[in-house]
C-alpha cells in the first residue's frame, strides 16, 4: 500500500505551549487513520498543519508526494479538510454551496456537475438543497459539509470530529459512508475524534495523542491485545497513565 501521507517529526510551538511534539505517522492509500485524544491533546494542531493552515516549527509532512512546507498549493489540490463545528454560508442554498466549493477545485464544467451530483447523492438532503443553509439543522449542515469534503474524490480527506452534532442513526450512516469510500474509491482518511467507539468501528489504524505527543500507533485489535484491554477506552486510559508515570 503506497503512502498517501507521511508525517515526519511534525512539531508546533506556540509562544508558551508545545502543541505538537515530533509527531510521525503515515497513511496508506484507501486507509482510514484516526488520531485519538482528549481536548487540547494536539489533534487539531496536527491536522491544521497537514492541511497547510498552520506552519510547523519543525518537521514536515508529505501528501501525495508534495511537502506541506515546500509545495502547500499542490498539497491543497490533493486534500479536503472538514473542521470541527464548521459552518457554511447561511445565505447560500445547499446546492449553491456545493457548486461554489466544487468550483474552487475544478474548472471543467462537466466534471464540476458530476462532482455536485455525487455530493447530492452522498448528503441525501434531496429537495432541501434548494433551501438556504440558514434554515438547516446542525445535522443537515454536517451532512452537507461531509458531502462537500468527499465530492472531489481527494486523495486524502481530513475530517475533524466527522460525526459531531449528528444523531446516532446519522452518525452510523456517515461511518458506513467513510468505510465505503475508502474501500471502493481508495480514498484515504485522516480522522480526529475523542469518540472511542466510533474510532474502533471505522478506522484501520489509530494513533493515540496526548499532551502534544503521539504515544502509540496500531490497529484497534492490536492495541487492545497489546494492553490487555477490552476496548479502546481502556487502551487510551492505560497509554495515558503509562505516559504520565514515565
Amino acid at each position: 500500500m503506497a503512502d498517501i501521507l507521511e508525517v515526519k517529526g511534525l512539531s508546533k510551538q506556540y509562544s508558551k505551549v508545545l502543541a505538537a511534539d515530533s509527531i510521525s505517522f503515515s497513511i496508506g492509500e484507501g486507509e482510514i487513520f484516526a488520531l485519538l485524544g482528549p481536548n487540547g491533546a494536539g489533534k487539531t494542531t496536527t491536522i491544521r498543519m497537514i492541511s497547510t493552515l498552520l506552519t510547523p516549527t519543525a518537521g514536515d509532512a508529505v501528501v501525495a508526494g508534495h511537502s506541506i512546507i515546500k509545495e502547500p498549493a499542490k498539497v491543497r489540490e490533493n486534500i479536503t479538510y472538514l473542521p470541527d463545528e464548521a459552518g457554511a454560508y447561511k445565505n447560500m442554498t445547499g446546492i449553491r454551496y456545493l457548486r461554489f466549493m466544487a468550483g474552487l477545485f475544478i474548472s471543467d464544467i462537466d466534471k464540476l456537475n458530476e462532482c455536485v451530483e455525487r455530493a447530492k447523492n452522498i448528503c441525501g438532503l434531496g429537495e432541501r438543497l434548494e433551501d438556504k443553509i440558514g434554515s438547516y439543522s446542525r445535522g443537515m449542515i454536517r451532512k452537507l459539509l461531509l458531502a462537500r469534503a468527499v465530492m472531489t474524490k481527494p486523495k486524502l480527506a481530513i475530517l475533524d470530529e466527522p460525526t459531531s452534532g449528528l444523531d446516532v442513526l446519522n452518525a452510523i450512516e456517515i461511518r458506513k459512508m467513510i468505510k465505503k469510500l475508502a474501500a471502493e474509491e481508495k480514498m484515504s482518511f485522516l480522522l480526529s475524534s475523542h469518540n472511542m467507539l466510533e474510532i474502533e468501528f471505522v478506522s484501520d489504524r489509530v494513533g493515540i495523542i496526548s499532551g502534544g505527543h503521539l504515544l502509540v500507533i496500531g490497529s484497534a485489535s492490536e492495541l487492545k491485545e497489546r494492553y490487555g484491554a477490552e476496548n479502546l477506552e481502556e487502551v487510551f486510559e492505560k497509554v495515558v497513565n503509562e505516559n504520565e508515570i514515565h
Binding site: K16, R48, T55, R76, Y81, P83, D84, A86, L104
Partner: protein
Amino acid sequence: MKFINLLKKELSELITVQMLLGLLVSLGIFMALGSVMDTTIDEAVEKTTNYTIRLIDRDDTEFTQDMIKSIENDGNKVRLFTDTGDDYAAILNSNDIKDVVIIPKGFTEKINKAQKPEIITAAKMTSAATISNINAGSSSAVSLIQKYISEKVASMGGLTEEQYKIVNQPLTVRENTVVADNYAEVSSESIMSRIAIQNMMLPIIVFVLIILTSQMLMSAVANEKTDKTLETLLSAPISRGSVIGAKMLAAAIIALINAAVYMIGFKVCMGDATSKISSSAGELISGQVSVDEGMHQLGMALGGMDYLLVGLQLFFTIMICLSVSLILGALINDTKNTQSMIMPIMMLAIIPYMISMIADINSLPTVIRYIVYAIPFTHTFSAIPNLMFGRTTLFTAGLIYQIIVFIICMFFALRLFMSDKLFTISLNFGQKSKYKAKKRRKSAEK
C-alpha cells in the same frame, strides 16, 4: 431581591471593557473637540471685538477725511493704506491684510450731487470654515460709513426725494472676494453659502462610506472566522491572496455603488438649492458676477482633474478602511464584538469630520493640528477645500500620507493573513485568558 439579582446580571452583561473603553475614547474626543472649539471661539471673539478698520481713501476729500476722523473718534482702530491699483488680491497680499474698504474717486462728488455713492470692499477667504472668514473690520466700516453719510445728508435739511433715498440706503457696496492671487466681484457670503451646502453633505457621504465599507469587510472576515468557513476556504486550492483580494474588491464595489447612489442623491437634492443661490447672488448688484462665475474667477471651481484627484483620495481612504478592517476582522472571534471593533475606525472618522465642520484645521494650534493631520481620514475631509483654496502642496502631502498609511496597513494585513496568527490571534476584551483560567483551575484543585 429577585429583581435586584436580575438587574445585577443584566448590568454585568452590559458593562463590558469595550463599553468602558468606548466611553473613555468618546470623552477623549469631546475633550479634543472642546480644545478645538476654544481655539476657534477665541479666534472669533478676537476678530469681532478687537478688529481694525482698514481703509484706502482714493477720494481723499475734506468729507472723506472728516468721515474717517469721525469713525476714529467713535473709538475704532483705523489703519489707512496707500493705493496700489485695482488688483484687490495684490492689495491684500502686499499689505498682508485680510480685508480692506476702498473709498473710490468721486465718492464725495456723488453725495454732493444727491447720488448714491459706492464703496468697494475686498475680503480674503482662506478656508471653508465659517469662523475663519469673519471680517468684522470691513462690515463695521461699511455700517459706520453708512451711518455717517445718513447723518450728514439728513442734517442738510430740505431734502429732495433722491436725498431721502440716500438717507435710507446711503451706499452701494461692491464686494470683492480674494482667494490666493485671484479676486472676483462676488460677496464672500454667497460663496460661503455655496461651500456650506457642499460641506454639509459631502463629509456625511464620506463618513457613511468609511463606516459602511469597514463594517462590511470586518463582518465578512469575522463571520468566516467564527463559522470556520475560513479554514475550509483556505484549505482549498486557492491562494490566500485571492481570498483577501476577492473580499476587498467585493467590499470596494459595494462601496462604489453606495458612493454613486449617494452622489446622485446629493446632486438631485442640492441641484435646485445651489442654482437658486447662484441666481439670487447674481441679482444683488448689477455688475457683480454670479457665484459660479465668481468661483471660477477665484480659481475655486473644481475641474475634471480636481475631481479625479478627489476620487483618487477617496479611493485610498476606502483602501485604508479595507486594510484596517481586514486586520480588525481577523482579531474578532465572536461576531458580537464587530460593533466594538469598528469603533477605532469610527473615531478616526468622527474627529476630522467634526473638526472640519467647525474650524479650519490649518489655523489650529500646532500640536493639535499635527495630531489631526496624523489621522489619515483628515485629508479626505479637507481634500475639496484644499483644492478650492489652491493649497495643492497640502493636498499632495495628504494624498502621499494616505498612500503610505495604506501601504503600511496592507503590509500588516497581508502578514497577518499569510501567517498562523490568522487562526490563533484574537482580542477578548474583558475575558480572562485561557492561560490565566488554567492557572486558576490548577490552584483551585490544589
